[in-house]
Symmetry: C2
Subunit: 306 residues, 2 copies
């Protein structure tokens, strides 16, 4: 048998492999941490599972597990925190899609939770996902392993991310049809999308017992890719089709929202996304080859098509 | 000056005094732990403050502080946990009142949050109150004092209460117009109202470092007064006026809900409430005079007019 010699994997291949593995592991962890749909409240659990399972890039969860890996944290503990962060993300999407908010019928190419079930169940499923996320963080089973530093500091970081998310959504829905200046749009997204991404990165660093300088570098990286992600999202909303996105496209312009695209133009927004992506990469200089996937992620985020 | 000799205070007077003091202290703590309404998201904070401040008996928070006091816990730590529990209670009321749920215009004699603001703000204010509650539990500032045993176990107890609450609400709205058997109504209320009351009592015991036997007694007490509270609520809904209640009266019958009253009759429900109240009192036997207020509370809960 002849073994074909192959070149070492490229950073993008490393990312694809570790992102895919993380997505599968996080999915399995969420599946395990959500109860099976049975009993009088089975419809609630069914809706929680519908909203939290079966989709998404798991970007926030991946940041937790990949950064935790770099600092040598236990993978099972990191997966629990990742599952918790993804449940918080899922709850925010369920509530954002509600008729009283963005009134969106599609999410990841499927009916949004209130369309699949009903509005009351969607509100309660979102509520229950948030509760379950914090319950998982508080559960002693999470830190049976003495090496694991999942504690109140991690929970606080995650809670700060969740708090920012809600504040950002308020500014967002209040800003519809109004012309917001660039600094206000930046602040809005720093809260709405940025907070949970940044704190997911920080939670990974806390789990791994990173020192202050390392933690600051990770926070800077998380902040920049969080913003880059949102700028790229605005570009996608303006340029991609609903089929590519798996959700309604062109919504920003239709609702008269101020976005990076409306403020900077498509080319200007693309440039800004790349600038942020490079800045995020620079924050990782001290981590060497260990951070290859995180660097590739910063690039992937601004080049993705959905 | 002549000092009129007075008899020692009755249990009811002790309760009135300590319940009133706790309500004032909890109110002040919530006020301090919610940010002032300013900045782009001031409307959100205004709605959070509207929903969480200025009303309510603070029964859940009182259970935390009074039980923590019996076991010698630090009052400031207990007040933070009490504020957190009351924020969770407030979030659940805001969401329960929404048009897609109970569609209630009145709460504590005032417009419900979605009537005062709008539906989107009410959903987000509820979400943010839940987040803030867990953020407070996770905040290191909570346990600067080494004597304080507020940790993940407390947070987990509170989260369990919050999780039960949502499950109960689902069974409740699904049960409207249907005839449920008594055991299902019991289970529903054990979750919807009972869980947070029971776990508030347990959180007080954990904070005070109660031993297992003491903790079990407190859990039994919390479970019984939680159920007694709900049975008495059903009686009040069937017998009191909206003015007395500060919320819409007679809603259960109008919506065809199975309640303790529809299943046991008004007299039967009153008897059941008193039986549970006595059972709760018996659970406190080993605590002696220290538990005078808790005993009076068990009685007050089934005799209150609102």
């Amino acid at each position: 048998m002849t073994i074909t010699p192959s070149s070492p994997p490229s950073p993008r291949e490393i990312l694809t492999e570790s992102l895919g593995q993380a997505a599968r592991d996080i999915e399995a962890t969420i599946d395990r941490l959500l109860p099976p749909a049975e009993g009088d409240e089975s419809i609630l659990i069914e809706a929680m599972r519908y909203a939290a399972l079966g989709g998404g890039k798991r970007l926030r969860g991946y940041l937790v597990t990949e950064i935790a890996r770099i600092f040598g944290a236990d993978r099972n503990a990191a997966l629990r925190v990742a599952a918790s962060v993804e449940m918080l993300h899922a709850y925010s999407l369920v509530h954002d899609d509600l008729p009283a908010m963005d009134d969106d019928d599609l999410r990841r190419g499927q009916p949004s939770t209130h369309r699949k079930f009903d509005e009351a169940i969607a509100i309660l499923a979102g509520d229950a996902l948030q509760t379950r996320a914090f319950e998982i963080l508080a559960d002693r089973a999470t830190h049976e392993d003495a090496r694991i530093r999942i504690d109140l500091v991690t929970a606080l970081a995650v809670a700060s991310g969740a708090a920012g998310m809600v504040g950002g959504q308020v500014v967002d829905i209040r800003g519809e049809g109004k012309s917001l200046p660039l600094d206000q749009v930046k602040r809005l997204h720093a809260m709405k999308t940025g907070a949970l991404i940044r704190y997911s990165a920080e939670a990974g660093a806390i789990l791994g017992g990173a020192d202050t300088a390392q933690r600051d570098a990770i926070i800077a990286y998380g902040r920049d890719i969080g913003t880059a992600f949102q700028v790229a999202d605005d570009v996608l909303d303006a340029t991609a089709s609903a089929e590519e996105l798996g959700k309604t496209a062109g919504k920003d312009e239709a609702s008269g929202k101020s976005t990076y695209v409306s403020l900077l133009g498509i080319d200007g927004a693309r440039e800004e996304a790349h600038r942020l992506s490079q800045q995020a990469t620079q924050a990782l200089t001290s981590f060497g080859t260990e951070a290859a996937a995180l660097r590739a992620l910063a690039q992937y985020i601004v080049e993705r098509r959905n």
